[in-house]
């Protein structure tokens, strides 16, 4: 049983939860996730580890309440426990000195971006951040990200904060301000994490510039340890497992259409579950 030690509402449906998980806190590195099961009838879902405190023996998770499991988890209070956390899973982010990195976070993806940006900066990269949300209320971690990036651009779809538009607009602007050939002032890496259509679009934008683009994918998982194949996707024409080969992949090699389709596999069941949850309240 894993006890909740701290709980913050970052936005209406976005929760930040610090939870006891001693061994995982000792081992986790940026880019990794845990499989979480809230109660006996619950599903196992992957959640990215955004921070850890090995001395306290806790990890921090930030998630948006979309389906049953995240809603149940988000409703729990400090001192309450969840049944299972297993990890840390997935390949760690490859941390290298690339030079200049453009780090893009969309919506709750900003939470997952933070630990990555911190560690990229630590090894001497210049980090330009671009973060976006649908509206001002859903924009999270602006302060933390402005402290850990060299430049930070902010967008909201409806223009209620920052620039009106999408993170991809800013990316296009930055890239087109430079010539189409590689020069030293060019980003050496683009890292994107957020809604799938955003990551797909970012990859399409960087493709003609041949800039290495890393995306972090959230596939439907069951065990999270490479056992079942539920999270399989196509990368460079080969079938890979998101849980053990990922969750980060080369955005230019991902079969995005297939990924989007596979993520919709249980839409009907998810609707049934949510309706049932609301009726039972």
């Amino acid at each position: 049983m894993f006890k909740i030690v701290n709980r913050t509402e970052l936005a209406a449906s976005i929760k930040k939860i610090e939870i006891e998980a001693k061994e995982i806190a000792g081992k986790a590195v940026p880019g990794q996730f845990v499989m979480v099961r809230v109660n006996e009838t619950g599903e196992r879902i992957p959640l990215t580890i955004v921070d850890k405190n090995p001395q306290k023996g806790t990890i921090t998770l930030i998630f948006q309440e979309i389906g049953q499991t995240t809603k149940k988890f988000g409703a729990l209070k400090v001192g309450e426990r969840i049944l299972d956390i297993a990890g840390p899973l997935g390949h760690p982010t490859e941390i290298k000195k690339y030079g200049t990195i453009i780090a893009i976070g969309g919506g709750v993806g900003c939470a997952e971006l933070l630990p990555i940006v911190k560690v990229y900066r630590e090894v001497g990269n210049k980090v330009i951040g671009i973060i976006g949300a649908r509206t001002k209320e859903l924009l999270i971690l602006e302060k933390e990200l402005s402290e850990t990036t060299d430049e930070l651009y902010i967008t909201t779809d409806d223009g209620t904060y920052g620039e009106k538009g999408f993170v991809s607009d800013i990316l296009k602007r930055i890239l087109t301000a430079r010539p189409l050939t590689r020069t030293p002032a060019y980003p050496d890496l683009v890292y994107a994490i957020g809604p799938v259509p955003m990551m797909k679009l970012v990859s399409e934008i960087t493709r003609p510039y041949q800039i290495k683009t890393v995306v972090s994918l959230n596939a439907i998982m069951v065990d999270g340890t490479g056992m079942c194949g539920s999270c399989r996707l196509e990368v460079g024409g080969k079938t890979k497992l998101c849980c053990v080969d990922g969750p980060e992949f080369d955005g230019h090699l991902v079969n995005w259409d297939l990924f989007l389709l596979r993520n919709k596999r249980f839409l009907e069941e998810e609707k049934i579950a949510l309706t049932r949850m609301d009726t039972n309240k």
């Binding site: 599903e43 297993a86 899973l89 069951v222 340890t225 056992m227 194949g229 399989r232 249980f266 579950a273």
Partner: protein, 485 residues
């Protein structure tokens, strides 16, 4: 002296009728009554030189336990079995006895063998029932034989990775020898393939829980949600003071054919399909949150026990028609005959000498694009034997046809999951990623590290994993004993 009249056939096992059982997840085989067990036990000739014992991978003293049943001492029978087998309620249900002890039974020469497996199950269930009536199953005081073991003496501690049949057996045997043992399990429930792979209607999960509780009652510590290789490494375990380690992580990686269209929605590996249903109880959706979707027509590719399990599960989830598609003939199907018969009785059909070529899905224009629509199959003929000794299936050119279905389950066997081996440098693997071990002891290339079960042999049976685990437990005992001196 009057010759004892032998009942030529086994005492039949009471089962749920096919029409009823194909709509529920309750156990199909209902178990012998005491009267039936007595009749069956009395078929045993109590041979002076029993051939059945070496036929058992864990060497249960079969005539001895059957004699106890003849004498109506059922608790004595289970005690005898448990001298060698820590998981009798499970083995009595899933062992392929017809390939093992029953195959060599003397009666089998002229008649049907003694139903050794059914008697083992009877004795195990009897004890579980009696214990349930007496007190908490997991309480030490309910098991007389635990008093004979000196638990957790000042012995070096041993780590066991995996709580499947191999891990549970190795841990139980080492605990009986007095070692403090900790089992590290990656999932949130113990049992491994017993809990995620074998369906409820063949092996009720309550039974698995009770058998695990028995192993724990021997003094074994169980830690769930520990993914060794990620949460802790082998080196971490040695640093924590464990002096020997047994690896029983199973072969858990899904095998796909690599044919076009395999990633369409509606195509599952048998691992995913069964894990959703057995471990996550998707058959109880929406009471349980994990979903599973099964179409009206289901195709299961494969011919082993897992294929039978997948097909029979799909039927119970509401599929109208379930087909097994198998590339060789009925004779070569590796599944237990009993399971194939159960499947056929339940209305599952088999397309023999057939193999999928590609999977075709909805491209769009449908409210659920990206779902399986049909499989293109080809007919096969049997050629010369291949490496497995079985005739090699050869495509018959031009025999392609389409098979309409919405769900495809790949039950082709499993491969070695690289997660653990990759994190353990120095652990010698063969070219398929399985751990190389000494056949007699399970010793790996690393000092103090042993392995057994599917991660060594590839997917096999529960009982063979248990046999390997017992050999490793003996070897670990010798190794730790020799270290002390």
């Amino acid at each position: 002296m009057a010759k004892k009249r032998i009942q030529p056939k086994k005492t039949p096992m009471p089962r749920q009728a096919a029409e009823i059982r194909k709509k529920n997840f309750e156990e199909v085989a209902l178990g012998y009554t005491e009267e039936q067990a007595l009749v069956e036990a009395n078929r045993c000739l109590q041979c002076k030189n029993p051939i059945c014992i070496p036929g058992c991978p864990v060497e249960i003293d079969i005539p001895a336990f059957i004699k106890k049943i003849q004498e109506k001492d059922c608790l004595g029978a289970i005690r005898k079995i448990k001298e060698k087998n820590n998981l009798p309620a499970i083995c009595g249900r899933v062992c392929p006895q017809e390939e093992q002890c029953e195959k060599v039974c003397v009666l089998a020469k002229k008649y049907e063998p003694v139903a050794i497996g059914r008697l083992e199950r009877f004795a195990a269930d009897y004890e579980l029932q009696v214990l349930g009536e007496r007190c908490e199953v997991s309480g030490k005081e309910s098991l007389p034989e635990t008093l004979h073991f000196t638990l957790n003496t000042k012995q070096p501690k041993v780590a066991v990775i995996g709580s499947g049949p191999a891990g549970l057996t190795c841990a139980g045997d080492l605990a009986k020898m007095g070692y403090p043992v900790t089992i590290f399990e990656a999932l949130h429930k113990p049992g491994g393939v017993l809990v995620y792979g074998i369906p409820e209607f063949r092996l009720p999960k309550k039974i698995v829980e009770q058998e695990v509780a028995y192993v724990q009652s021997l003094g074994v510590e169980l830690k769930l949600n520990y993914v060794i290789g990620k949460t802790l490494t082998l080196d971490d375990l040695f640093c924590q003071g464990y002096e020997a380690i047994f690896i029983g992580i199973g072969a858990g990686a899904p095998k796909f054919m690599g044919i076009p269209g395999e990633n369409f929605n509606g195509v599952y590996s048998a691992n995913e399909f069964l894990t959703r249903v057995n471990l996550m109880k998707a058959y109880l959706f929406p009471e349980y949150d994990t979903p599973i979707r099964v179409g009206k027509r289901v195709a299961v590719i494969g011919g082993g026990n897992v294929a039978m399990d997948s097909a029979r599960t799909a039927l119970r989830l509401g599929a109208e028609e379930v087909y097994l598609i198998y590339r060789r003939s009925r004779k070569e199907m590796p599944a237990r005959e009993e399971e194939i018969e159960n499947a056929l009785e339940e209305g599952i059909k088999i397309e023999l000498l057939t193999n999928p070529v590609r999977i075709i899905g909805d491209e769009g224009g449908n409210h659920l694009p990206g779902w399986v629509k049909k499989i293109e199959c080809i007919r096969m003929s049997l050629g010369e034997p291949d490496a497995s000794g079985r005739p090699r299936p050869v495509e018959i050119p031009g025999s392609n046809f389409y098979f309409a279905c919405e769900t495809v389950i790949m039950a082709l066997g499993t491969e070695a999951n690289p997660l653990f081996p990759k994190s353990t440098p120095g652990l010698a693997l063969n070219k398929w990623g399985y751990i190389i071990t000494d056949e007699q002891t399970g010793k790996t290339s690393l000092e103090g590290v042993y392995a057994g079960g599917d991660i060594v042999t590839g997917s096999a049976t529960v009982i063979s994993a248990m046999g390997a685990a017992k050999r490793s437990a003996r070897a670990i005992n010798e190794y730790l004993g020799s270290k002390k001196r």
